[in-house]
């Protein structure tokens, strides 16, 4: 089974580095960035299977980033993460092509299961 390549995007640097480290301990090739702008740049530089994207960030927010990702990389799977759990954000995110919309906090093992499902093209949980 090929190594899962994940880009984790959140403006909380400490959250990014911790989640990336935990994913790596589980054999996942994880990369972390702290802004939507940085995420778009990184996606052009290296291949990923899934992008995990925080909805609310300074600058480009998650919904704007997913819109741009889906224009340039329509097959790249995107999971949206939110601390708000606003229904309208979830609806918009899914309409823009997100595989799923998760409310923080998310158990890491659950997140990994969803990442695998997203790559396999399976159904949402």
């Amino acid at each position: 089974m090929a190594t899962l390549r994940v880009l984790f995007v959140d403006d909380e640097e400490e959250l990014v580095s911790t989640v990336v480290e935990r994913l790596e301990l589980r054999g996942i090739a994880a990369t972390g960035v702290v802004s939507g702008e940085e995420a778009l740049t990184r996606i052009e530089e290296q291949p990923f299977d899934v992008v995990v994207l925080d909805v609310r960030m300074p600058g480009l927010g998650g919904l704007e980033v997913i819109k741009r990702i889906k224009q340039s990389h329509p097959d790249l799977q995107v999971l949206l993460l939110s601390g708000h759990g606003a229904k309208e954000d979830a609806t918009t995110g899914l309409r823009l092509g997100a595989f799923d919309y998760l409310q923080k906090p998310v158990d890491l093992e659950d997140l990994i299961a969803i990442l695998h499902r997203a790559v396999a093209g399976g159904k949402r949980g």
Partner: protein, 246 residues
């Protein structure tokens, strides 16, 4: 009738400001707790290797404790500041520490500034406590609205400076952008709001960004003698009433 409407309007704005602060700080606290949760998870991940005596894992556990402490401290700062903020809604007081009020307003404004990719620089002098007579809640609200006004018209420097200067009869709170202010559709309404709020707080709006120098609020010093009950929150100085501005 007009006066009643105006009071109602100010009241609505107070509730709006209170809820904005509360929701913003709830998100900040949730962020800190999410990080703490992941750090606990990482601790669990690493612990078995540390127990086996792997030096790198043992060292990592030490740094994890420090990182968790940072997030706990972050939550404590939020809770402490929110507690003082909630009490600041009790009305006009004699003997308010204007420095604490400004620092608290900036603590909350830091989130809105960060989300707008701007920078907030505070120039609040240490030294003698400056006791003013004002409604601390409304002064915080005015500072928040002033920050919002400057953010709406901010230029490329994306920097806002907030200062506090003692004058003979009172303290002056200054909010300024590093760039010339660009007037926009939202500015007139915000400016009217700020003027009314500063007045209701017991102060006076002395300068607006339209005149090129940022915003200046004048808050008069206490003119009457104080009893301990007049002092803000009734808390003796040096018991942690202030807060960190980040």
């Amino acid at each position: 009738m007009a006066e009643t409407l105006s009071e109602n309007h100010i009241c609505e704005q107070e509730v709006l400001y209170f809820s904005r602060v509360l929701s913003g700080q709830c998100h900040e606290m949730a962020n800190a707790l999410n990080i703490a949760r992941e750090l606990c998870g990482l601790h669990e991940d690493i612990f078995p290797r540390a127990r086996e005596g792997h030096a790198d894992a043992v060292e990592k556990l030490g740094s994890l404790a420090h990182r968790m402490q940072t997030q706990i401290d972050r939550c404590h700062a939020i809770v402490r500041t929110l507690g003082h903020f909630a009490h600041s809604a009790d009305g006009t007081r004699l003997g308010c520490d204007v420095r604490e009020i400004v620092e608290r307003a900036l603590f909350f404004a830091a989130r809105q500034v960060r989300l707008r990719q701007a920078e907030l620089q505070a120039v609040v002098p240490a030294g003698d406590v400056q006791l003013v007579e004002c409604n601390p809640f409304l002064l915080q609200q005015a500072i928040h609205a002033g920050t919002e006004l400057l953010l709406e018209g901010i230029g490329q420097s994306r920097r806002i400076t907030v200062g506090l200067t003692p004058e003979t009869a009172g303290a002056v709170v200054t909010l300024a952008s590093a760039d010339p202010f660009v007037c926009n559709d939202a500015a007139p309404a915000l400016l009217a709001e700020i003027t009314a709020t500063v007045q209701a707080a017991g102060g006076e709006l002395r300068e607006t960004p339209e005149s090129g120098g940022g915003l200046k609020f004048f808050i008069p010093y206490c003119r009457r003698g104080l009893t301990s009950a007049d002092s803000e929150l009734g808390i003796p100085k040096g018991t942690g009433g202030g807060c960190d501005v980040s």
